[in-house]
Symmetry: C2
Subunit: 133 residues, 2 copies
DNA sequence: TTCGTTGCAAACATTTTGCAGTTTC
DNA sequence: GAAACTGCAAAATGTTTGCAACGAA
């Protein structure tokens, strides 16, 4: 049985930090963001709590970009654009997958589909420019 | 300017290995697969060549599953089902995204979309059973 | 007082890299 | 013979973990 959860100021701060940004940051970014405000915060705690949130479904992973796992405080169905140039991750509101499509994937594989992740890859507004060289 | 490519027996074997399986393996799997046949193969070479293939578009990454990057020898548009239980990765033939949808993502973000990755997550046929406990 | 939470640092696992020797052209 | 390729082992990187101190119920 899993342990009864207790309240924790740091945990709250980590979740709030993630929910207060749209940059889909990695653990390290959250850590650096909160460190000035909470000087006795450790990176391990950030990792531990992010893992916890993910388990509870409070946050989601966007996947690994340039070796770093990126997290998203939003959990409603939406997609992402990942810039191959600078690593920026942007929300994409359109293109929510239909239930029918998801059901088809389950039927085809014989498994049970519980979620999906749709990432577009390419070059963002800024990196698009800089590539014309 | 990038170096002129030379032929290499090991490189061929690595690509052939990846193309000859549908299990979307990580680097280590490819290494273990080829090692008996090519005793003087090193893991570093597998990593180096997989990175190279990815750059050239000969293979694609399915993303990181359980801490390991998984590769796919198929490059035609299709999706994947990732089992959260055992880590199996299966091809999903249906649900190819329309060009219109992809174009919309580009327009919405202001960037240029060069590709996408659609992963379904859930429990495969076998793991589905074992979860009824 | 109990038990979850945390800091710290060490441990871990995967991937990358430098260099000297080898293979390909 | 020049340049790319490779083995090997060390290094780098991101993440996890053990343990003693801390904080919440």
């Amino acid at each position: 049985m899993e342990p009864a959860r207790k309240h924790s100021r740091k945990r709250d701060a980590i979740l709030a930090c993630l929910r207060g940004t749209t940059c889909h940051p990695p653990a390290e970014w959250v850590y650096r963001q909160l460190k000035p405000e909470i000087p006795d915060l450790s990176l391990g705690t950030v990792y531990r709590n992010l893992a916890l949130f993910k388990e509870e479904g409070l946050i989601e992973s966007v996947g690994t970009v340039a070796g770093l796992e990126r997290f998203d405080g939003r959990t409603d169905p939406h997609c992402h654009f990942v810039c191959l140039g600078c690593g920026a991750v942007l929300d994409v509101e359109t293109a929510e997958l239909s239930d029918a499509l998801i059901a088809t994937a389950g039927r085809e594989t014989g498994g049970r589909v519980t979620g999906y992740r749709l990432n577009y890859y390419g070059y963002c507004k800024d990196c698009k420019k800089n590539k014309n060289s």
